[in-house]
Symmetry: C2
Subunit: 177 residues, 2 copies
Amino acid sequence: MTTIVYIASSLDGYIADEDGSLDWLHNIPNPGASDFGFSDFMSEIDALVMGRVTFETVCGFEGAWPYSKPVFVLSNTLDRVPAELEDKAEVIKGSLPKVLETLHARKYTQLYIDGGKTVQSFLSEDLIDEMIITRVPILLGGGAPLFGSLAAPLEFEHVNSEILAGALVQSHYRRKL
Amino acid sequence: MTTIVYIASSLDGYIADEDGSLDWLHNIPNPGASDFGFSDFMSEIDALVMGRVTFETVCGFEGAWPYSKPVFVLSNTLDRVPAELEDKAEVIKGSLPKVLETLHARKYTQLYIDGGKTVQSFLSEDLIDEMIITRVPILLGGGAPLFGSLAAPLEFEHVNSEILAGALVQSHYRRKL
């Protein structure tokens, strides 16, 4: 079973600005309309795990539902997803090890872990195997941080890096065992 | 005149751990004893500008004085550097624009801006032209942060990136005008 983070961050480690906006991310010149490897990445995972806040943000996006794989929403307050998303998403509860056990039992083995707080929760229990971090060349100076505090450092190996649209540095890391 | 940051950071944006230690940085396997481009970089600059804390940290390093270029120490509390360093370093006072003006008048045009708080001060006044950031594949979970808060975002252009020792991602950025 593999848990993978795939996320864009400013150089100073924010995934959303002070207003929760992602405009700084969408303003990158992208003449080839590249998806920056996102669909390739999505084809390699079995399911997504995200927090309620990220889920509700995605629900607010205009246009079609963006994910082709099942979404599991970690939430203690939500009991079910909106009816129109019942074939796409479901609420999952319990400790993170228990969540992973449940998903594994349901034959999901490649999990995309999404959303700042969810990523931080998984990392704080050393439950992230890989991270694909795309650095956007901007300093936001504040906002929602990608990383949080840890009880002890976590070492990773560098797998590879790629420059996207002449601006983004996308680096793939794997937890050092 | 160009102000350049050249610094190593953990993936979560710390330049020293909770104890102020850099051991996590020195523990990277480096069989070729590479200096990761540091001497090439030093050959391109005229002088260093650092804060008192960084200066005192460097003074505490074992072995020879590490810099081949003049060091200017920003300090409101220090009046002079230790006598044995008088030919290598000097204290400089005043606002950052004034400091840059003074150094420019003294024919220093390529300035290496070093140290977490100094870098943050220059960035908060939008006085950094280039940044060479070397990302070490570790999450420290706390420590001395490289970046601080800003009144407004600062956009950069990606110049190039290089993988060092199969582990470090060194990216060069230039302020977008």
